[in-house]
Symmetry: C2
Subunit: 236 residues, 2 copies
């Protein structure tokens, strides 16, 4: 029975897992959990992931969620995965873990917090608060600066590597989520970070053609209409 | 040269790393980075951790930060560590990663967010916003419910284990940080979660006498005075 990947391509961690499987030739079945329709709260999905998050995988008896845990598991359980994705050397592996852990509290908190509270919550009739949006943007800007000046200080990929790891894929998919912002906000936030922009391109090239294929839905999302009108989505 | 552990016992991830080293007989030197004095921003510490966070370790050439990454590294690099802390089996290990990743976005975000914004920020002359405190408490309550009903559903330790893993130690130290709340708030928040309270005791027993020894500073902190007066620290 092939690996099952449950998720929605509008979610950045789902995209990271899908791109990883495709790039590494892992045989899998993709099962849509439509988050806008609330599929993640269905009893059927709750039996797979009681936290109601996406993505999740089922591999034989194992039900697993949290995208970083999934990516690490795939590197260890599928023998065809090249070692640069998750090196065996304890010190190199520790650096990957450090980047992935940092991601949770900084880049993800900033980027996902900003996109959710400024765009997705209002679009779905949920309340959002200006102070929370301002805090998320502050965290995002600090995180992009650390990405540029610490993680991308040496080498094309995070932590000074010459080839991508699962950390590059996960964090690049996070930054890609900022495409949902208006053109004006996107450029205001991203333009100072030249190394970050080059690294996104390098990660895209290293995972071609799957990076673009899996991000296609994001580019086609309704938000693109307002981006093309140059609207800004929140007041500073 | 012995392992160096940089941190402050007032920080919950620092405590997890210290208890782990002591319990597993790892020879190390503890170096105080006094966060209230801003030591984490000194040039000397920045050379160890450019993110200005604690804890961090130096082991030979390796400089490493993020407590989960540190705990995993210690399990892999120090041969005397018992396997229950970080099992070798890919599926069991994946569950540990899943709990550790979940911790970042839920339990830690709620607990650390609440304690920082309601107590530490005002104590240190920093602004805090009621909406951010309310959001942190909501996340904390949801996280405690998941801890009780998902992670502690089967077995004494997280994920159904009969012995503690690094996830138990990390998350238990997080919940212990709630001791900084007033007596009234602490009981209002924790009292519905019987399994969580028992699990804290089980983790404490499994790591005795180091759990109490390393938490001693927390119990002696100035906040205890207001707890003993029964003050509540924020308005609902």
């Amino acid at each position: 029975m092939a690996l099952k990947v449950y998720g929605d391509r509008m979610s950045e961690p789902t995209r990271a897992v899908l791109i990883f499987c495709k790039k590494n030739g892992i045989d899998f079945e993709e099962i849509l959990v439509d988050v806008l329709k609330g599929d993640q709260f269905s009893p059927k999905y709750k039996a797979i992931n009681p936290m109601n998050q996406i993505p999740a995988i089922v591999d034989g008896q194992l039900k697993l969620f949290e995208s970083h845990a999934i990516l690490i598991y795939l590197c260890c359980a599928f023998p065809g995965v090249a070692s640069h994705w998750y090196p065996g050397d304890p010190a190199k592996r520790a650096k990957i873990h450090s980047i992935l852990d940092w991601h949770h509290s900084y880049l993800r908190r900033g980027a996902a917090g900003l996109v959710f509270n400024s765009i997705l919550a209002p679009l779905n009739g949920m309340r959002s608060y200006p102070q929370i949006i301002i805090q998320a943007e502050e965290i995002l800007l600090r995180s992009l600066s650390k990405l540029e000046n610490v993680w991308l200080k040496d080498g094309s990929f995070l932590g000074g590597s010459s080839q991508p790891s699962i950390a590059d894929l996960s964090l690049a998919c996070e930054v890609m989520q900022l495409e949902l912002l208006s053109e004006k906000d996107y450029h205001r936030i991203l333009s100072p970070y030249k190394k970050v922009k080059k690294w996104i391109e390098d990660t895209r090239s290293a995972t071609a053609p799957y990076f673009d294929e899996v991000h296609e839905l994001l580019f086609e999302s309704p938000k693109r209409d307002s981006r093309e009108n140059g609207d800004t989505l929140w007041e500073k």
